[in-house]
Each structure stands twice: as structure tokens, then as C-alpha cells.
Amino acid sequence: MNVRAACCVVAAIVSLAACQREKRDFEAPTKAVTPPPVRLSEIQPGAISTKTSLEGKYEDNAFALSEGKRLFGWYNCTGCHAHGGGDKGPALMDRVWIYGSEPAQIYATIVEGRPNGMPSFGGHIPDNEVWELVAYVRSLSGLASGMASPNRSDTMHVKAPESNVEAQQPVTAAPSGASERP
């Protein structure tokens, strides 16, 4: 009997990480939350609130990553970035980042837009969906959790699925050259 119990315990410990990975957040958690204010002071009244955003919350959540993948097509990111290989826009599946690879930097890139063609999506996409896109964009170069990243799509095969991508060490490049306009 104790063997059976031991099996349960081991299985439970091994898959504890599953909870976060498998959660389906249908209700947007930021429904009432506005983007964090720009703070010029470290001092705040009451408890210090540092995380009002969804930054990094979706990196290991399979549902959010797959939503990001769907929105990447729906919002026509593929129109310029193709499926991550890049076209008019820079490639997203390589290690080269022009405006930074951190979630907050990618968020800013999507919301604010960038010179030479990247539109500003701020206000056109709900906040939580931007963060889902951020997580997905990072999964393209293996920066999100491999356990949670999407498998292949039911489309023409264009590249290895995000779940099988080796994590690539990000490097920052100047906004010029082949990576931007092939």
C-alpha cells in the first residue's frame, strides 16, 4: 500500500509545475487594471506595488502561448514577420533583437510601434492579449518555457514547432542591415 502512496506523492511532486502551465484564464485578469503608471520615484504610499502588469505571467502558460500564436495570425503579425522567419519585418525566431528581448521591451514595441514600419497597436489590442503575443514572440526563439510552448500547427509546414526550438541567447543589433530588410 505504501508503494501506491509513494507513487502518488512522486507523481504529484513531479507534476506540480503543471498547475500553472495548464491554467486557462478565460477572464482577462487585467479587465479593470490600467497599464502601470510611469513612476519617477521609488517611494509609494502604502505597500509598494511593482507588478500591476502581466509581465512574464504567460511565459510558462500553455493556453496563453497558444492564444498568442493564434493572435499572431489574427492580428496579421505574419504579414510582415512571416511565421517568425521575417519578411518586411525582422525575423523573430533568431537571436538578434533590435529593440530588446525582455517581455517589457517587446510589449513596448507592440504597443508603441517602432520606426520604419512597425505599427503601434496600443488601444487596438487588449492588454492581456498583448502580453500573450509577447510570450509567444519569445517562444519563437525558445525564450519561453519549452514545456508550455505550442506544438506544430495544422497548416503547411514552415518551421519547427515552438516547443522544439532550442533557447537562443539574445543579442542586440543596431536597427540596420539584413535582419531588418532582407
Partner: protein, 662 residues
Amino acid sequence: MSRLLAALDPRELRKAARASVGRGEAIYDGPGWGSPAASALDRTWREKPGVRGWLETVDHKRTGKRFVFTSFVFFCAAGILAAIMRSQLAFPDSHLVGPDLYDQMFTMHGTTMMFIFAVPVMQGMAVYLIPLMVGTRNTAFPRMTACAFWLYLLGSLSLWVGFALNTGADAGWFAYVPLAGPEYGIGKRSDLWNNLINLTEAMGLMVAVDLATVILKMRAPGMSLRRMPVFAWSILVTSVMIIFAMPSVMLAANLAQFDRTFATHFFNPAEGGDVLIWQHLFWFFGHPEVYFIFIPALGFISTIIPTFARRPLFGHTAVVLSMIATGFLAFGLWVHHMFATNLPELGKGFFTAMSMMIAIPTAVQIFCWIATLWSGRINLRAPILFVLGFFFILVLGGMTGIMIGAVPFDLQVHDSYFIVAHLHYVLLGGAVFPLFAAFYYWFPKFTGRLLDERLGRWQFWTFFVGFNVTFFPMHLLGLAGMPRRIYTYAADTGWGTLNLVATIGAAIIAVSVLLFVVNVIRTRAGGEAAGDDPWGAATLEWATHSPPPAFNFVALPVVASREPLWAREADEPTHVSGLSAQVREGLVTTVLDALPDVRYAYPSPSIWPAVAAVTVVVWLFWSNVTPSGMWYGLIPPAIAFILWYWPTRRETAEQLLLQRRP
């Protein structure tokens, strides 16, 4: 390693043989419970106490009881999920559970009932009963069956642990792609389901091979095929069906897992794959699966009715041939699950004809049972009550089955609550009612105690009433357009009342199952002692103690009639003796006439089946997490299987000893 190699050194072997088997006179088995042979048999077959013995056991009775117990626990768990789902559906626009949880629950319910309960419980009953019924001391490959149990237990637990951690499979028990595929089957939920399929189907195949071998090659001398009990026939038919059908769904699950892990395109139409291939592969298994569950239940009934009608089964040959016919026809039905996909007209006609034709062998059996009751004298006890309930429910389910075999009508009710009603009528009526009959009938053999009759009657009537109150209204709901697998419905659909009735019925069923559990616990604690043969039955399992000793029989019986305990001529031999009592020795007989053929040494207890099962499970999960686990993960099972087959010194010595003796 040196110890392992020493197992092959002849001098060492002789020493070991002397040490283990002794120099003294060889002891042979023979009749008489108090004889030295009986105590020698007990020494030989008894297993080590403690955890080690618990893990190493190869006793078919322990393994069989484990299957039955484990699957019954999962039956209750899946039943609780059903009760929650019924509560959610009791009222329109209910918010008790959301769609995410509801989808996981109905998937877990279906998967558990079909893969974790129904097939293992039938196989477990057979693993327990078949060696006793055909008069032998163990199954042919008891280590394989033990390994099958561990695979099954670990696979089922992993699915349920996953469910507890919000990783429960959520694509339905049929896991249609693309919903269970790489794009829409998000997260690791469907991976767990595919693992479960691999593990439980491996379990099913291993047990089926074992049982078929016992039935064909290890029957008591004289038990020719025409004297074989109907239950053994039912398990033989089931085992052969399993061997044909289960590879199909394993293949499908592995193709789907390749799609998910390695990004292959078997089910991707954009790359030349086809989503319908999944449905064909799944239902080529899925329809015969119904008969893996149903045919053993027919065997139960053909065993129980003669005992309580106090006469042999009427039309034994017709019943056996009907079961074989059902086994063949079952493979020609799978497409009737797919009438709503586009099918050629000729194909539809063929599958309609097959779906209706399979009713004929079942009708033959039902008429033979009625004829048996008609011409018998009836001992009206709890097992026969469940059999009578079976008549009502299964025949009703069979009638709706004929209706939905007709393509045009199926197009209307397919995937509606009409089907939910139909499948519960045939599966609960065709398997669970007979199973409860079998529990009441064989429980004295398992434990030596009789289940309480009064509680049994209460359980029967609550179950019968609750069942019909739950599932009969679903026919009407289906006709009123309620589709399956919806987590809620709007009030103005008018489905509320009937759903509420169904939920009330579900509560009655829950009470009934609870009564059964109470009955079992009370009986275990101190029920009426049963004696060896509480029912005055005809088959060989009642010719030994209740519960049977580890070696089953002091001397293997010899069979001269279809009802060996009823029709026995005075001048015929009743047993065969002369097998070694110091070594686990058995008798292999010929397939047709069961003439003694060769002696066979049964495998001894071993830890490796359990270890091998663990390594296989680790391999599967490893391959889900990282594709390279598919290759590296193969190393531990390879080691475990090699060690499993590595002979110990004692085993080799025993084999040599057996060879020297005449």
C-alpha cells in the same frame, strides 16, 4: 554480475538444486487436503510476506483481485464525476462547473469507464477465474500479467493525478483530432491521454495473450473444447478480439503523439494527412471494445443462469457459436460511429446490415437463456436478480441499437442524448448488471464469505430503478434535439425537466453503489461463511476451497463432462496426480481434446515485472517532455526486461531437476 554468471555453472547448479529442492524423496501432488503433498504444495506456492512479496507476486488470484479492486475504485471515481456532471445539467444555465472543468470531467468519465474500468475489470475477473475454471494452478505467463497490472495502475494513476493538477485530458474519450492534435490540444493534457492508451492497451494485450494461452493449452485433462465452460469460451473470444483490435488504437495514439512531439503530419490535411484516419483507426478498435466488455458479461450470465436454474445451459453449442459470431461481426461495425462523415451509399448499406445482423447472435443467446429458465427450477437469489435486470435493460439498449444502426435515423440522433441513453443501456445493462451478478456469485469464492442477501436485493432495486430514471429520459432529450457533451443549455430549449429527472436518478444510482460498498465492507468484517460451494454450481472453481489456496487444487481435476461437478460417472478418474509438489509444475494439454501433453514449470515470483512497468512509464513521460527522451528513455526498460528473463540459480536448478525426473 559474477552471481548472475554463476547461475550457468553446472557445479554451482547441482549444489543449488540440493539446497533448494532437497535430497530426500521427491513429493508428488495428489488428492487429500491434509496430506504431506498438500503441505509441500503450500510451501512451494506460498509467496513471501511483506512489501517484497506484495510487489513480486505472480499468483493469478492476487493479480486478478488487484485488477478488480483497482478498476472498481476508478469506477467509483468516474461515477462521482458523472454525479457532478449530472448536477451541473440538472438546471439550465447552471454555473456549478465551467466549460474547462466540464470538458475534463466528461473526458475523464468516458476514458476511465472504457479504458480503466470496463476492460480491466473483465480481464481481472478472468485472470482470477479462468485458471480455476479450467483446472490449473496459475496462468501461463503470470509475470507478464503482473507487469500488465503495474502498467495499468501507473497509467491510470498518472491520468488521474494529471486531472487533479488541472491537466486532465479534455478532448473526449475518443480524442478526435484536430481537437486532440498538436494545435488545438493545448498543453500536456492529450499527451497524458495518449500515454494512458499506450499503457492500458499494452495491459489488455498482455493479459489477453496470457488468458488465451491458459484456455487453449492448460485445461484440465479431458476438458475438450466441447466440454469447456461458456465463460472460458467468452474469454477466449474476447482475448482473440483484443489481440486484433487493440493494436489499432495504440497505433492511432502513437501517430497522434508523433504529431504532437515530433511535428509529423499524419492528421494534418494541409500537409496531405487526414483527420478521418484517426476516426477509422479509433473505431476499428472502439466498436470491438464494446464487445470486449459485453462478451465476458455474456459468459457470466451463461455461467450464472444454469447454476440458479438447476440445469445445464440450454443450447450450449448455439451459445458458443453465437459468441464467436459476435466476435467476427463486431469488426464490421465500426463505421456506424461515423455515419455523419461523408460515406459512400454502398458502405452505409453494408454497415447498416452488419449493425442489424449482430443482433441475431445476441438474440440466440437471450432465447437460450430464457429456455433454460423456462425448463429449470429457479433458486431466486441476488445474482439471478441482476441477470433479470440485465434482460430488461440490455434488450431495451439492443432495440435502440438496432434503431441507430439505420443510417437515416442515426443521422438524426447521432451525438445526441439518445446515444448517451443507448450506450449506457448497453454498457451498464450489458456489463455492469452482469458484473454485479458476478460479484454476488463469485464473492464467496474470492473471500469465503457470502454477501448479504437483503442488502443485495436493496442494491438491485435501487440500481434498477435509479438506472432507468436516469437514462430513460435521455432518449427523449435526444429526440428533442439535445446534443451530447454540452456543459450547459438554455432554459427555453425545454430540456430542463427531463434533465432534472435524470439527475435524481443519478442520485439513486449513487445510493445503490454505496449500498454495495457497505455490503462488501460488512461481509469482509464478518459475513456468513460460504463453504466451498455455496450455490451448488457445476464448474471447477467450486471444487476447491473458498478462498482457494495458492496452488488452487491439491490434484489437478480430470473432466469427463460439460458440467464436471454435476454429472460425474462413478468409474471415471476424478483427478490426475504425479506433478512435483516441490516445484511450481503444471500440465500442458492439447488444444482440441485436452490430452496431457507436456509438463510446464511456472515462473516464480519476481520483482522485475514491477520494475519494468515503472521504467516503461518513465520512458513514456520522458518522451513527452523532451523528444530525446524517446531514445534515452528506452535504456532502463531494456535493462529491466533483460534482468526479468535472466534465470536465477534456483530456477535453473529446478528446471534441471524436472528434466531428470520421469
